[in-house]
Amino acid sequence: MAKRETPLLDQLETGPWPSFVTDIKRQAETKPECWDILGILELSYKDRITHWKHGGIVGVFGYGGGIVGRYADVPELFPGVEHFHTIRVAQPASKYYSTANLRQLMALWEKYGSGVTNFHGSTGDIILLGTRTENLEPFFWDLTHDMGQDLGGSGSNLRTPANCIGMSRCEWACYDTEEACHELTLKYQDEIHRPAFPYKFKFKFSGCPNDCVAAIARSDISVIGTWRDNIRIDQAAVKEYVAGNYAPNGGAHSGRDWGKFDIQKEVIELCPTQCMWMEGGELKIDDKECTRCMHCINVMPRALRPGVDTGASVCVGAKAPILDGAQFSTLILPFIKVTKDNDFEELTEFIEKVWDWWMEIGKNRERVGETMQRVGLPTFLSVMGVEPIPQHVKEPRSNPYIFWKEEEVEGGFARDIDEFRAKHKA
């Protein structure tokens, strides 16, 4: 394949930031078809329209996900990208790789594909960009048989579950995110590899409310670690922070002189619920008002730690801004225990209840969060068998209106209106 002239793309290389154009040109030295990626993109810039066809039939036998078909609509001009399918490879839990594993994967991709990668897609998968249909089965065989790795999810499937590093390295993890992610990935193999739903479905596991995998922004079911007792306080360490002997924020932001640490200004006044104060040289917290924002713990990690009665909050319905704007997930279950001791039963029962409802009620290409929005939170809670609590109300002060069901009102809705009007004028 011949080198392509790409004057429009070349301009992208002139900025101060690293350019994918430079990367692809470098890759084209060993994989000449990469010139056709640049060529077709240059043509799209000129024509102001994409030259990739929309989807297609492609995959490996037995799987309905993990491969995304991409075909050029001008193959005679760019034969190198006539087929340019994407392969999604499931990432290891917490994205722990060995260099040997990465080398093996890259050797496989150089053999069967363009060598172009994206680490990682927003779901978390390893994205391998660009291969031909006839290479898919051989690649899949080697990936699964020689490397013991699997494809991830795509299409209307459960997408590859993702988790933070959890208890493997983080003292704040309130449950074992790696164990939960691993167990649920094994349990829901059918849903990952074969389409089951009206649209995509994701779950992500964060060990604490810092939410390092952005579960609350990106997943249909966000499992976020929390605690229901009190923040643990080491008052001696608080004094060390106040005296300036311990660096705040674990020493982060230390490249600049921010002045002496001020616990009032940097911790107490920044508490969103104002539930902290100093008294007699000690830090006090009114834990029942704490919203688990993690700010105080992040600033003074040697003095403050999450409680010991730990589990997770489960939120439902986040999505990226495709149809109706970006949406965070909504708190549904304030606290559940997430543990292998009961095979994550409380969590999986809830997940399957959500799926059964959404498969029936959800419209085509409607994320579960959009279905929830369409039917309303009270209906969703009622179907899930969850008792409403004040934290489910989004804006109680601006909209305190409550719809009562007839069975919740003493005497029902059939009452003597004359008797009522005798006491209350219309």
Binding site: G55, G65, G155, N364, R365
Partner: protein, 77 residues
Amino acid sequence: MALSKDELKKAIEEKALQSPKPQLYIKDFYACDPDAKPRDIKNVANEMVREGRLAFWSSGSTTMYGIPSRIQNEEGA
């Protein structure tokens, strides 16, 4: 399920053959047996893919089902 598995497969196949569009969402097959659970329909449709009677068509974000020859004809067109 009101229909037997074979009857359901036949109904799905007919629906996929007669539909104006070659690709159908999984929900489009629910009407083939209104008494069946969505999960049962999904399992039967996926079994039909393994048998070669249906094929997956994917845009990357959404997966649809269709008769393989009908989808291939449209893609070749």
